[in-house]
């Protein structure tokens, strides 16, 4: 399933990129360049030949680990992507950690204390978080924490605390989703018969919530976190722009503007591959959390 999806992704993006007007060789040499030198550069960049021919040539390169050469910097695409990649991963991981940890915590809290003041505050906060545009939240945090209180630096990527504000901004929407999902799922489970049984046999409230209810309630949340993780890798583009983080997002926007097709393609296939792998990992993790699924696989053998 992984391979056809990736092939499809690359075909779609390749078509979009090549259907658009504007020729990379002309763009690089300027309008004044002679037709001859343009043709020469085109051959050099592998731009000659029909659409299918070019695509197949690119694909065979990718299969041997060669993502092509950036039109702009003439560096291998793989290197370009890899230079920017760590920043995006750091940001995405910070955001995922924030949204998962606080999402599950607040979700449980709000479900256990349903209809109390705490629950209402959490629900209202969730609504606010899901309606706030992440880039605006970023700007407001810059104003408050970087400009006014001077607690955190405006931008930069050298220290872990550089990623606090971008992480919160990128997490905001996912955090709201995780809280909602955990709360709903917990509320469903808390009313289940086996939770009543656990209470009836005299389990401590803490054991009931964490041992009996939470393990069952977490299943849909794990899926959500897995999906979020894949999306976060590509979803940090706007946050990267707010905090001037040199990551994949800024690389892509820049490359698209310069019609640097190999870099755009390389970055997109890279992100798509990663998010598919994360989804796969989520499925495996699922089996560990839910013994019912594990037993299915054992039987199938």
């Amino acid at each position: 399933m992984l391979i056809p999806v990736l092939l499809g992704v690359s075909i779609i993006i390749y078509s979009i990129m090549s259907l658009t007007p504007g020729d990379a060789a002309t763009l690089m040499l300027g309008d004044a360049a002679s037709a001859e030198s343009v043709a020469k550069l085109r051959a050099e960049l592998g731009l000659d030949g029909g659409f299918v021919e070019r695509y197949v040539r690119w694909l065979t390169g990718v299969l041997t680990g060669d993502f092509g050469i950036s039109y702009k910097s003439r560096n291998p695409v793989f290197m370009e992507v890899f230079q920017r990649f760590p920043n995006t991963v750091k940001l995405a991981l910070t955001a995922i950690a924030i949204s998962s940890i606080f999402g599950v915590l607040f979700g449980i809290l709000s479900a256990v204390k349903q209809y109390t003041l705490i629950d209402n505050i959490v629900v209202a906060g969730t609504l606010l978080l899901s309606s706030v545009p992440d880039f605006w939240l970023g700007l407001m945090m810059i104003l408050l924490f970087a400009v006014k209180l001077k607690w955190l630096p405006l931008s930069g990527t050298d220290h872990w605390y550089n990623f606090i504000m971008p992480g919160i901004a990128a997490a905001s929407h996912y955090l709201a989703n995780t809280i909602r999902m955990t709360r709903t799922s917990m509320l469903d489970v808390i009313r289940a018969d086996y939770v009543r049984t656990a209470r009836a046999k005299g389990c401590a409230e803490r054991t009931v919530i964490f041992q009996h209810a939470l393990r069952n309630a977490l299943l849909p949340v794990v899926t959500l976190i897995g999906v979020n993780m894949g999306w976060q890798l590509g979803g940090t583009v706007i946050t990267e722009q707010v905090f001037a983080i040199p990551g994949m997002g800024s690389l892509m926007i820049q490359s698209i503007r310069q019609k640097d097709t190999p870099v755009v393609l390389g970055a997109l296939v890279f992100v798509a591959l990663l998010s598919s792998l994360i989804n796969l990992a989520t499925d495996v993790l699922y089996a560990y959390i839910d013994p019912r699924i594990k037993s299915q696989y054992v039987k199938a053998k």
Binding site: G8, I12, M17, I256
Partner: protein
């Protein structure tokens, strides 16, 4: 005995009874349920006010002189009685620009959702109703689209096709179609086996008629809920894309584009970035409240 009592009921009484039953039509029940939810009602009123204000904007705001034209002498003035929300770096009245931006955002948002729903209905209903190879093909195609993170997809489309409202609509609706396809497909599959569909088939109704007249109306609930929430999300996304310079272009007013322009001055003049952000939050927030309210109102489990 019941027969005799039945006969004694006058026509007037019967009419009254009929009216009583009519009152219980699905829509009325949903509305009554929805009204109980004070927050959702609040969201609805808020959105109604904003829609009216956006529609009426041309009556008291002139696009050329109020929204676009620059008044250098009035630049960067804080809120006053003349300019309720102040003026921006080009001396333009922020309130007028916000209102005009609401028109742009709402128009784009609702168009995107409309295209997303229609596209999702065509693909989802075809996949769900026909099943088999067609279902497999369509759903694999959808999987491919879902493997590309949405923002990257939208950015590549807008950036390569050029910055314009139609391209923005195309990019955002392409991202929504997979979502609606999945929702509609699963409701179609759920409804397909039911007796009233069998009955329609036996009456000789063709596939498209069954889907359009019998299946879609019964699957509308979750679609409407998702659509309301998706409008909220789309309005945020439009602002986000415009913020990084890929959506609606200045000097045209748009909340995200306004924030992007105001960013340079935000440290000295924080009020510049306040109002567009709050406008987005109010719009998206009230749409979310309505969506949640509708979800509860449509859920039979919540009705007692």
């Amino acid at each position: 005995m019941s027969e005799t009592t039945n006969k004694t009921i006058s026509d007037a009484e019967r009419a009254a009874r009929r009216a009583k039953y009519k009152k219980k039509s699905e829509l009325k029940i949903v509305w009554r349920q929805f009204k109980k939810n004070k927050l959702a009602l609040f969201g609805l009123i808020l959105i109604a006010i904003m829609v009216v204000a956006a529609f009426a904007a041309p009556l008291f705001i002139d696009f050329e002189t109020d929204v676009i034209e620059q008044h250098v002498l009035d630049r960067l003035q804080g809120p006053s009685s003349e300019h309720l929300l102040g003026t921006d770096a080009y001396g333009r009245d922020i309130l007028s620009r916000l209102l005009w931006a609401a028109r742009v955002s709402m128009f784009t948002g609702f168009t995107v959702i409309a295209i997303g729903i229609v596209g999702g209905m065509i693909l989802g209903a075809t996949a769900g109703y026909l099943g088999g190879v067609v279902d497999n093909l369509i759903m694999r195609f959808i999987d491919i689209f879902l493997a590309i993170p949405f923002t990257l997809m939208a950015i590549s489309i807008v950036a390569t096709l050029g910055n314009s409202i139609p391209n923005l609509i195309l990019a955002l609706s392409l991202a929504l179609i997979p979502k609606f396809t999945r929702i509609i497909r699963s409701s179609v599959i759920g409804l397909k086996g039911q007796e009233f569909i069998e009955a329609a088939k036996l009456c000789g109704a063709s596939g498209p008629v069954i889907v359009l007249k019998h299946i879609i109306p019964n699957a509308l609930g979750p679609i409407i809920v998702e659509a309301t929430l998706a409008v909220a999300r789309t309005i945020i996304d439009i602002a986000g894309l415009s913020f990084i310079g890929l959506g609606i272009q200045p000097p045209n007013p748009e909340w995200g584009a306004m924030l992007s322009e105001a960013r340079k001055y935000m440290i000295q003049y924080p009020y510049l970035i306040m109002s567009p952000g709050i406008a987005i939050i109010l719009t998206a927030g009230s749409l979310t409240l309505i969506g949640d309210g509708l979800r509860d109102a449509l859920d039979p489990k919540m009705r007692n």
